[in-house]
Homo-oligomer: 335 residues x 2
DNA sequence: TTGTAGGCGTTATCAA
DNA sequence: TTGATAACGCCTACAA
């Protein structure tokens, strides 16, 4: 297992009889090098199996080409559209992403952020607008573009691409009431300490109140246990509360689970009970009946956030942006 | 927007009246520092808002704490279990992962690899065993542990944690024949140039041949277009071939799509036609009927691969490992 | 237990 | 168009 020592710019420079900086320039395509010299250098670099050391480059140039992306989770389908579109959009510009998972917990988010920051990312995209004080300070102190996503506030750390969870839940509830539903219960997923679930619940509640309705119950699935087992719990809840006519889920996955399990138990949806979700993952459209839900523009948020980062880093713009991508209601089979 | 200059070890050293190396040692917890000194240093570092620069650290120590993970895609649910378990397992040991997508193409894989290698990862986990010559050379030349996953071969680059796609398809087909199915057609997803789909098709074909059966047709969904639209294509195929009694899909997503669309078209599954998948994603169990499929141990592969990397980097073991995690057949509703 | 010296591989800066 | 010099921030090696 004789391991050859790694090849550096210096080795190439010696072989080519030029200085390291010339090699560096040639390999970076810096057009101040004679085509002839460049060709020779490229050839030698290739022959020697040279692999540029981006660590050294990053240290000296203070550019890592890394964008930190902090999400509650990347498991499951909720945030994967967002992460993918970020990755694709930034990939075009030669950036790599490093992902951190906050596990829906701002303390954990801070820990993750503290780790990521040490790698000196050139930018940060982070889900949510509710962070610890230290996290906010950290984000500001980094002096790189920061884009918060998946939420809305008047007072972002830097730029923001999101939507109002509260408003979406509010409007959706109004629309459901318009459709004739009156006796709602609300089901929440694992209570996010990042509190987007809570905002959704509040928006729902406000809409009820505005229409003079009261809530007929609520249930929380404390630790997320997979779609089907959450669904079992909700099936029991639905059976125990026969007066309900609509189960408002603040989380897509439990809505899917509930729909599947209720259907398997022979409950007619939406006739006996309507079920609605929040988020529109792909699985929502393959179940029967397909889920009526709020469609969140995860990919669009990712893409816009990535663009903002890219443009800022390219010096194209200085300004901070606040972008509301809104939401749609996807009327399908469950309500 | 006055941006304070970043704080370095030197700044802390000066403030504490010690040398930078002492600060470095104190902050890394290297137990050669007086508790008193350490406390003082920690306090100052905190007060100054010191953020260690891992780029500099990586350059000098030749350890980046980064593990490169190369997968065909991270969109969708197929590989996400694997990536998550890798991330979790390595996270425990303080490693970060950087992901590259090969898009089911070994040329693209090579390009991705060439980019990742420049960041000097401490290890590599890569899907598949079929790589370009250059990729293999690159992997060897890196002199870091490499684990190939999701496939099987006698001749891995280094370590290997996988299963035989061919064998799984072979055994599954035999089991289906045992169940009484005779008139099979095979449906493939986007033809992977990384050729795992092909191995599955071959295993299926060999089993038929072994039992003296012929294939009743085949169809390829060339570009993956989502579960439901693939399903439409397959629904048409099934309608056009009424003699079939089992549709063998080499890809879970198209199996789900086919099942959903056939069912919506009123075709009785499995009575009129059986449909089986390959891979067992979560969505397979929420459709009706739930999909009979080969259960691949994606999370287990990820975890084992991560462990091998971790142990090798901790110097716990030198040896290369080949691990076959096998597969299970999940008999559910569609066959 | 602490410190000195130097270098990891690259690129910014300034000079030729 | 090319080069010399130094520095990015940290840690290895060796010495005290």
């Amino acid at each position: 297992m004789a391991s050859k020592p790694p090849v550096s710019l210096k080795d190439i420079a010696e072989a080519a009889g030029v200085s390291t900086i010339t090699v560096s320039r040639a390999l970076r395509g810096l057009s101040l090098v004679t085509p002839d010299t460049r060709r020779q250098i490229t050839e030698i670099a290739h022959r020697l199996g040279y692999v540029p050391n981006q660590v050294a480059s990053s240290l000296r140039s203070r550019k890592t080409g890394l964008i930190a992306v902090v999400m509650p989770t990347v498991a499951g389908s909720i945030f994967s559209d967002t992460v993918n579109s970020i990755s694709n959009e930034l990939g075009k510009a030669g950036y790599q992403i490093i992902i951190g998972e906050s596990s829906y917990d701002i303390e954990q988010e801070q820990a993750v952020l503290e780790a990521l920051v040490q790698r000196r990312p050139d930018g940060v995209i982070i889900a949510g607008v509710n962070h610890t004080r230290t996290s906010r300070e950290l984000l500001s102190a980094m002096n790189v573009p920061v884009v918060e996503i998946w939420d809305m506030t008047e007072d972002p750390v830097d730029s923001l691409v999101g939507f109002s969870n509260r408003h979406a839940a509010y409007e959706f509830t109004l629309a459901l009431i318009d459709k004739g539903y009156r006796r709602f219960a609300i089901a929440s997923g694992p209570m996010e300490r990042l509190n987007r679930a809570q905002q959704r619940a509040e928006g729902h509640g406000e809409a009820l109140k505005f229409k003079g309705l009261r809530s007929f119950g609520s249930i929380v699935i404390p630790h997320f246990m997979g779609m089907l087992s959450s669904g079992e719990t909700l099936l029991k809840f639905v059976k125990d509360n026969p007066e309900l006519d609509c189960l408002f889920c603040t989380n897509e996955l439990i809505a899917i689970g509930a729909t599947v399990q209720c259907r398997r138990a022979g409950i007619k949806i939406p006739d006996e009970i309507a079920i609605v979700g929040f988020g529109d993952v792909e699985a929502a459209s393959i179940i029967d009946p397909p889920l009526t839900t709020i469609c969140i523009h995860g990919a669009a948020m990712g893409q816009e956030a990535a663009r903002i980062i890219r443009d800022r880093l390219a010096g194209k713009t200085e300004e901070r942006k606040i972008l509301d991508v809104g939401f749609d209601i996807a009327w399908r089979g469950t309500a």
